[in-house]
Point group: C2
């Protein structure tokens, strides 16, 4: 297995991600703590040195979970009073729940980072990838939205190219991991794999969140497909890419697919730019960008090797064949980290710690 | 599992594919009979009713193989005299071997269908997908070339769109199955899967033909990557698509990837056309095209469900977002059948039977 993924790029993690003692003094609530993203966020908080005593965890049902060797007592929702005692709340919740909780928390002065899609297109709520448009946090209110996982990963290299050469058009095909559908997605894939090779079942087998068997398969649409033939996931990538890059006019065309991968979303990206560029300048700019790691492995980056790492890995950077202003690349990011929990923590770290 | 893949399209197979008694009177040689494509071709010949007594099989080593209940005695190569007794030879061989064998066979009056890449760009050798440019067979010599598997599948819907609206530009991202690397690819994926779930090994585990572990992974390049960053597989798709469609000027931009799928290559395709089109006209034309099956399943077609079928399945047909002349679709075809053995048999069936 190649280990060249980090040969020119960032280290696999930049923990503690700028999390300071002032941040560690905050009372933090993680809502939806038992899901894939909630657990990852708790793990990052532990790694960042946030005291467990100042971390409250909530989910549908009460339980005790062990994350990175630390035990968390999960309280059942709703527990509005306990929630309101926090100064910062991460909502790792479905959109409907975020829509109900966020206004109530904000009304009580709690800063909220929402990881659902509920507020991503709300004009007065910033949608932030800190490395790209972190400055929007300077004039934000208490509510901040965290982007769609595929979009966050896609935008990391796109923002660099946009700065250098001006994006004109983006065609993207995604390869999304099972864990993009949360723990049930991961458990379904694992169960299907064991069944396929005749191995006895081990873990739980929930109702599959996928439209078809995923093992040894590719499912070429994610979420509902609308009357125009565009899937819900594709719509998110289009709308949120435009918003994060501050390019409401940008032409984005997308196919999103689910593949039998446990963790890390990949994107094959074909762009056209407004201005001429020198390929090596683009590569150098990507290498110099925080949160981006360039791989020179001709057969990388690959999702399996990128799991658990912070950066978005970019490889196969090459001139396109659609004229001198075309460019292709392949990018991979851990969608539970940079696509969700890590990005949310980076937002929180960039904010001045709440009093 | 959805079974709607064939709801509007062709049946799963059109055996015996126009194979007549005149064809059945031919002495046929299959060279490279023990590989994935060779075995598939023998199976198709059995299904087409070709007598085993008129089918000679050759491979590196002598063996006996059972295909679809029929036993074939495989002779070791070279056996030039036995070969020359055939009136039609299928070369399921590596390019180097095809380059050595084809001229010799042709010199002895044997008609040759070469499935390697050796002659695909040779100006005097037709490169044929019968449904698209089968007319080229009318003026061909004894040597005919069978296209790259991804390209054959891709071109089936592209040819229809080109006819209706004139292709201007094609962006394609492939999801290629393990068996595209032959039986070693399939065996490697199976062994990796068993190992991953802790199941005991069953079959042989050859040296992996892949650049990295494929199980639960995506490998974003196939074959060597050249100085311009384009992979060997991508170069084939570009060159052969232009040739098969008779459009040497066509702009084709490609990313080819390997995914943990056993069988069937998929392509996400984003095109621009020269002329305006009505989306339903394109869909109707695809539905009416021999060898193409349109699926209305919003989450299809998928490789697992298309394995072993003749047609190229096309779904997710939708207007693009890159102007009124943009169009997207997802296509899946069995690359061992339409991408290789079936296409070769269709070429042979379309030729007047050799005397």
């Amino acid at each position: 297995m190649s280990t060249t993924h980090t040969d020119r790029g960032a280290p696999r993690t930049n923990a503690p991600w700028g999390w300071t003692d002032a941040h560690r003094a905050q009372e933090i609530a993680v809502i939806g703590a038992t899901g894939a993203v909630g657990r990852e966020l708790l793990e990052l908080l532990v790694q960042a040195g946030h005291p467990a005593s100042r971390t409250s965890t909530f989910a549908r049902a009460a339980s005790t979970i062990d994350v990175a060797g630390v035990e968390f007592a999960v309280k059942p929702m709703p527990a509005a009073s306990a929630l309101r005692a926090a100064s910062l709340a991460f909502l790792c919740t479905p959109s409907e729940l975020s829509l109900a909780l966020a206004p109530e928390l904000v009304a009580h002065g709690v800063r909220v980072i929402d990881l659902s899609s509920a507020y991503r297109l709300a004009p007065d709520v910033p949608l932030v990838v800190p490395e790209i448009n972190g400055r929007e946090l300077e004039r934000s209110g208490l509510l901040i939205s965290n982007p769609n996982c595929t979009t966050a990963i896609l935008c990391m290299p796109l923002a660099v190219i946009d700065r250098l050469a001006g994006l004109e058009e983006v065609v993207v095909v995604s390869f999304q991991a099972a864990s993009g559908a949360g723990l049930p997605g991961l458990q379904t894939l694992a169960a299907e794999a064991r069944e396929a090779v005749g191995a006895p079942a081990t873990g739980p087998r929930p109702k599959s969140p996928f439209a078809a068997p995923l093992f040894f398969n590719v499912i070429p649409a994610i979420a509902e497909v609308d009357d125009t033939g565009i899937s819900g996931e594709e719509r998110k990538v289009i709308d949120e890419t435009r918003r994060i890059l501050g390019r409401p006019d940008l032409v984005v065309e997308v196919t999103t697919t689910r593949v039998p991968v446990e963790r890390c979303h990949s994107v094959a990206v074909h762009v056209k730019t407004k201005r001429d560029f020198v390929l090596e300048d683009i590569i150098a700019a990507l290498e110099a960008s925080p949160g981006v790691a360039v791989t020179r492995d001709p057969h990388g980056p690959r999702p399996r090797e990128c799991a658990g790492a912070d950066p978005v890995y970019v490889g196969r950077i090459r001139a396109g064949t659609r004229g001198t202003r075309s460019l292709c690349f392949f990018a991979v990011g851990d969608q539970i980290r940079k696509g969700a929990a890590l990005n949310a923590l980076q937002i929180a770290a960039r904010l001045r710690a709440a009093p």
